[in-house]
């Protein structure tokens, strides 16, 4: 069978486990590609340990040529924290979704940030719990329909969508690196990831990156509507960019 020419993939991309298991149109592979290229360019493949959470992020458990552990829902942060505390030579990456980071594992995220753990948390925000079939998440947009907000999310009773990077910026020390990227601006997302990794490799501090992502399967959107939801609705609520420590009047 003739094979089509393939786009170049990072060395850490484990070909034995491809094609990957994400849905067509999913944002995860884009984020993982940006992460893989960053690891490769920084030459840290031999000392990087990748941890993934429950949710769609667990589908990355055999994605890379990286030592990897798949943890319980919300608990990848403490697993990677513990690993790095025990062997600070390692570069630890905790990869999770918005439910894992902002709901069930929020105490771990908050405390890892305030302790300035030298690990990188990479959180993929697709506004809902995808693997369990599309329930409301802390990041679900107002009026957005999910399986547990069938009439649209009502902020009055369910709160407003969580602004994760803004929260982390507010509680983490200045030496932490915090950014929100989006899969619609992949080169920028990769720059953020790379900077985040550099921040932990140099021992400067914690790194937290939220990647706005796509979930056409649970959004029930076609290609055009998918990008529209990301670039209009999500970008409209979640500002993309680096979050510098505020230096106001002392």
């Amino acid at each position: 069978m003739a094979t089509l020419p393939q786009p170049p993939m990072p060395v850490v991309w484990r070909s034995e486990t491809k094609p990957h298991k994400f849905c067509p149109g999913c944002g995860h592979p884009l984020v993982l590609k940006a992460l893989g290229e960053s690891i490769e360019e920084l030459g840290i493949q031999d000392k990087t340990v990748f941890g993934c959470d429950i949710g769609c992020s667990l589908l990355a458990w055999d994605f890379f040529n990286l030592d990897t552990v798949q943890a319980h829902h919300g608990r990848v942060t403490p697993v990677i924290v513990g690993l790095h505390r025990a062997n600070p030579r390692l570069v630890g990456i905790a990869y999770m979704g918005d439910g894992g980071g902002y709901a069930i594992g929020s105490q771990h995220l908050v405390n890892a940030a305030t302790r300035n753990e030298k690990i990188m948390v990479l959180l993929v925000n697709n506004t809902l719990y995808a693997m369990t079939g599309g329930q409301m998440a802390p990041t679900t947009l107002p009026k957005q329909k999910t399986e547990t907000s069938p009439y649209g999310r009502e902020p009055e009773t369910t709160g407003k969508p969580t602004l994760g990077p803004e929260m982390i910026r507010a509680i983490a020390p200045d030496s932490a690196y915090v950014a929100r990227g989006t899969v619609s601006r992949l080169p920028q997302l990769k720059r953020f990831i790379k900077k985040g990794l550099e921040n932990v490799v140099s021992g400067k501090g914690f790194a937290f990156i939220e990647a706005l992502s796509l979930c056409p399967t649970n959004w029930r959107t076609n290609a055009e509507e998918t990008w529209k939801f990301l670039e209009q609705d999500m970008h409209g609520y979640f500002p993309v960019g680096e979050l510098a420590p505020e230096k106001g009047e002392e």
Partner: protein, 360 residues
């Protein structure tokens, strides 16, 4: 940096929690992860005082979930890592422990039992026996040592690190608030000088070489798609657990050869029941004593032997039959009746056991 924490052997006077700390230091434990809860706290207090002197690590986490999961991370990095907790903390700890069970993570956990259910009290109790042995959504593939005082706490804490890393099952020291706080003399020692060689650890993640280039990457998971796939994992684990069980089980049988009544107790309560047997023997009662030291795996064969001539078994415990349930399971095909003296959340003295026996 000081050299070894303990040189040679020394008679010392300390609390149970200190004994655990000194044992962990002597065993070469690299790092402790923990969250404050009574009656476990002095393990952390003493560990944080001593750890910097011997280049050991410590992390105080945000809760017991985190203490357990960071401990798993420490083991994945190849370190002798341990944690300790109690009561409601033991409940939260079941989540990381179930992951450790599934992934055969050799973490060491010290459980300082306290009264329950809920927050309750903080000293006398054996109400976390079942939770420690069978907690989590699994089959209880854990190695559990129930200690009965300072010397046990010291000896078995050292042993726990070795057994965990040799067999790769999560390993427990099941203590209680009374042992944590009581004071008595014990001998502390450097294990190597006693000929105890500490089992080498190895990184499960982040070892040498570039994954995918020099070696295959390590991909560790606890999620399975197919029932038959999981079935095989569990059955393999079960087989391995049963294979090692005879090497691991420990117990202490006393005066059981001709015993008409066999008292069964574990942990600190066995101190009272052993004392009662001595008194009762002097008074002419044919009473024996059986103490399982490992509760998982349970020394079932030895128990059957110990009760072979018994007309009655009396299980004595500071809980409402948690040990008795295990005993009954082991003895179900024997006709000997299993009775119980249960004091949930209360201490038990030798005198009251004597009274129980004589009253019958």
């Amino acid at each position: 940096m000081a050299d070894k924490p303990i040189v040679g052997e020394k008679r010392a006077f300390m609390t149970g929690n200190e004994a655990v700390t000194w044992a962990a230091l002597a065993a070469g434990a690299h790092i402790m992860y923990g969250y404050p809860i009574t009656p476990q706290n002095e393990i952390m207090h003493y560990w944080t005082r001593m750890a910097p002197k011997y280049d050991r690590g410590f992390l105080q986490t945000e809760d017991e979930l985190s203490a357990g999961f960071t401990c798993i991370g420490g083991v994945l990095a190849g370190k002798r890592a341990f944690t300790g907790t109690a009561g409601p903390g033991t409940i939260l700890m079941q989540e990381p422990l179930s992951m450790a069970e599934m992934m055969r993570i050799p973490m060491v956990t010290v459980i300082c039992q306290r009264g329950g259910p809920s927050t309750a009290t903080v000293i006398y109790s054996q109400q976390e026996t079942r939770l420690t042995c069978f907690g989590g959504n699994g089959e209880g593939y854990r190695l559990v040592y129930s200690t009965a005082g300072q010397q046990d706490l010291f000896d078995y804490t050292i042993k726990a690190f070795n057994v965990a890393w040799k067999y790769r099952f999560p390993t427990f020291i099941l203590s209680d608030g009374y042992q944590s706080k009581m004071r008595e003399p014990l001998t502390i020692y450097d294990p190597e000088e006693r000929g105890i060689k500490m089992v080498e650890t190895e990184p499960l993640l982040g070892g040498t070489g570039i994954p995918g280039v020099d070696r295959d990457p390590r991909h560790l998971r606890n999620t399975y798609n197919m029932e038959d796939e999981l079935y095989q994992v569990v059955m393999d684990m079960d087989q391995e657990y049963k294979r090692i069980a005879p090497e691991v089980v420990e117990y202490k049988a006393m005066e059981t050869e001709d015993a008409e009544l066999v008292l069964v107790a574990h942990g600190i309560v066995s101190r009272a029941t052993e004392g009662a047997v001595r008194v009762l023997r002097e008074q002419g009662y044919r009473v024996g004593h059986f103490r399982p030291i490992t509760l998982r795996p349970f020394p079932g064969e030895a128990l059957k032997e110990a009760v072979a001539k018994a007309r009655r078994v009396l299980v004595v415990e500071s809980s409402m039959g948690q040990l008795a349930g295990m005993v009954k399971e082991e003895l179900y095909d024997l006709s000997v009746p299993v009775t119980g003296y249960f004091r949930p959340g209360e201490g038990i003295t030798a005198e009251e056991v004597v009274e129980q026996v004589r009253g019958r």
